[in-house]
Amino acid sequence: MNEFTIERIKTGIPGLDDLIEGGFPKGDTILVAGKAGTGKSILATQFIYKGATVYDEPGVLVTLEEPPSAIKRNMMRFGMDLKKLEEENMLSLVDLSPARPQPKNLYEYPSFDLSGLEAIIHSHIDRINAKRVVIDTLSILAYKFKSRDILREEFFKICASITKKDTTLLLTSEIPARDTGLGVFDIEAFLASGVIVLYNEKISDTSRSRSIEVLKLRGSKHSSRIHSMRITDEGIRVWPGEISPGS
């Protein structure tokens, strides 16, 4: 491997690595965007799970939406035992979900940063020497804070600080219904060097079709087609040779 070769980490998601030259560029920020129910959280958690169980890469899963108990229960349906990974120090689940008791924010002045969030995430990365980090989902912060300009700037700082030591960061972003962008901030795509979009489109009165598109990936000859994707008993599986019927 020479200095111009991009080192990659395998996602471990069946079929996905075939679309992206073998994996995500190591130390990059990847955005997984999609409307509600498209499988973003499953894909993100699977990325952490496979990293820990197959590639010996510990991972940090920061949940801003679902409480850890629900994530563990849901992922067990796909045979992914997150509790066991926690016990083995291969996973750190950071509970920043609204289910936790949090102070009621009465006032917000546009003079703050997110160094609290950054310190929390770094403490977990350092504790288990994590190589993969997931933040699920970025969009929640848009509802927690009003100062969008500050949030945008702070996201750039947090992404840069997490990936500084070659940790690969995967962010999920919810595309609001009837929206054509990639998230509530309109800058999510610029934060990331890779963007993956998940779809669950209605193709007839009685059926929907799941699909996945690699919109961009720095330094990679990725597929430019929209490929079929399914949520199986083992999690997400992509069919690289199958083009989505909806595309």
Partner: protein
């Protein structure tokens, strides 16, 4: 009556029981934190010094506390379970202090 007198006496003996707890979250890298700290201490400086118990938490040294309280943004000042993020206006702090005092009185009734 005797009981009331005793409890009043006990409260007088324990000056911390009626104190308002203020938690100030800051970090080593937070550029706005020093100014927020100044505003906080200038505001509470107008009151009796024994009225407050100020707990400063530097999340760079103690990220567990930020996680426990669910505090992402800094500076954050918590007074009686409510919070203000950013450099606060003194009026906002005064309202929070008053609110905390009122809920303390309600609790004592």
């Amino acid at each position: 009556m005797v009981e009331d007198e005793e409890s009043e006496e006990a409260a007088e003996q324990d000056p911390t029981s009626s104190q308002i707890e203020i938690i100030f979250f800051k970090s080593d890298t937070c550029a706005f934190c020093p100014r927020a700290e100044e505003v906080l201490f200038e505001t509470i400086g107008d009151f009796d010094s024994g009225m407050f118990k100020v707990n400063e938490i530097n999340v760079s040294e103690n990220p567990e506390a930020a996680e426990e309280y669910g505090v992402f943004a800094l500076p954050t000042i918590m007074i009686g379970g409510v919070a203000v993020t950013g450099i606060p206006e003194p009026e906002a702090l005064l309202k929070m202090i008053l609110g905390s005092r009122m809920s303390q009185s309600r609790g004592a009734d």
